[in-house]
Symmetry: C2
Subunit: 227 residues, 2 copies
Amino acid sequence: MENFFKILMSSPLFDEIGENELSSLLNCLAAKTVKYEKNDIILSSPEKLRSIRFVLTGSVYVVQDDFWGNRTIIAYIPAGNTFAEAFTCCEDEYLPLSAVAAEECEIMLIDYSRIIKNCPSSCSFHNTLIKNMIKIVASKNIMLTRKMEHLTKRTTREKILSFLSFRAAEAENTKFSIPFDRQGLADYLAVDRSALSRELSALQNEGIIKYRKNAFEIMSLNDKTIR
Amino acid sequence: MENFFKILMSSPLFDEIGENELSSLLNCLAAKTVKYEKNDIILSSPEKLRSIRFVLTGSVYVVQDDFWGNRTIIAYIPAGNTFAEAFTCCEDEYLPLSAVAAEECEIMLIDYSRIIKNCPSSCSFHNTLIKNMIKIVASKNIMLTRKMEHLTKRTTREKILSFLSFRAAEAENTKFSIPFDRQGLADYLAVDRSALSRELSALQNEGIIKYRKNAFEIMSLNDKTIR
DNA sequence: AAAAGTATGTTGTATTTGCAACGGAATGGA
DNA sequence: TCCATTCCGTTGCAAATACAACATACTTTT
């Protein structure tokens, strides 16, 4: 476990928790780790959850497959972050999502009841941990809201520009990369892949954006581009 | 404040908190109430928040207006529920949303720092309150995920059926009502109002649904209707 | 009860989308 | 290096959508 200290310490879940304390805390939480290969299914719906998942190495997609086989990527979870907390916190809810390994990865499971119960040995970090949990769930909430901002745009073009300009703002640079391949981006924006490609080409022809693989650049920001 | 005890007691925020304790707790939280008329703007983006909002009477829409004036309804908040918690929990985030009164309503403001700080007079309910906060934020998270399930459908018809069948499942009845007028539903599903009307008519003509105003009934559930 | 205002339904049309199919480029083994 | 896969861009076309404009129904006010 010690080799993961760095990633654990930098994570929002263990914010304001010292390195010395982390070891005993992890012990108290009875955390386990599991390894997955690329495209392995980590969670599949419907499933009832008792543990939150922490990505130690690699990365994970949270996806939603519907009745007709359309896949939507709900979120991309890089190392150092948690996923499936919301469904763990609301014990009675069933998971309507799946999680798949975006690449080879190691996932740590932390029993939720151990987080929220002030443990008998009264290690004082539970309070901090709980506050961190709130922050994490709240920011995930905000992330979902942001994604909705893209999804509610009426045309593919608007969705693309909404997404790209958000990424640019996040990167504080007109040049940036995205964590999706074309199919992934199409899934994320809930549009057809070929329609996405068509629109990306059009945008490039019109000189609004440039791209090569996953590297993008926004050339001009006019009325239609500003969020 | 006493006249609101019933609605407060039934709310998830004060779950597992007794009526006797509620009074002193509210005192400790320094809650204030504000009144609004229908269509009044309760919160407008961008704004930085320090208090969570609790709907005592009436109801509220959380909406998102974009650059081009398209409005999307993110959520409908009936009395007894809170809103804008996520943006309050993540202090550093600016609110990219607005809230408007769906009808005449009274809103209680609760300072977030008073919720999470164990108060000097050490009233023992903060822990319960904090756990309730997590649950609330987590379930809002799930609600957003559900909404996304509707939004990611490719056609208006699929969006409508996804939404209606979810409502039916929730009501445990093929007959149910919805908390939106037509424009509201269109905003919620991020489609054009006339396209929505057209598709609703078509669905009714095909005998798949029946509706009159906000009262709906799902007649037949075939492949295309099951979620 | 009339008038004004709002909500809902209807329809025509230009645009956009989803879908299917294909070819070429890039990638990853063997 | 060759082969097999996967990824990406392109295009034609049928279908769905947004938009605008108008008609009708329903509410509210006076």
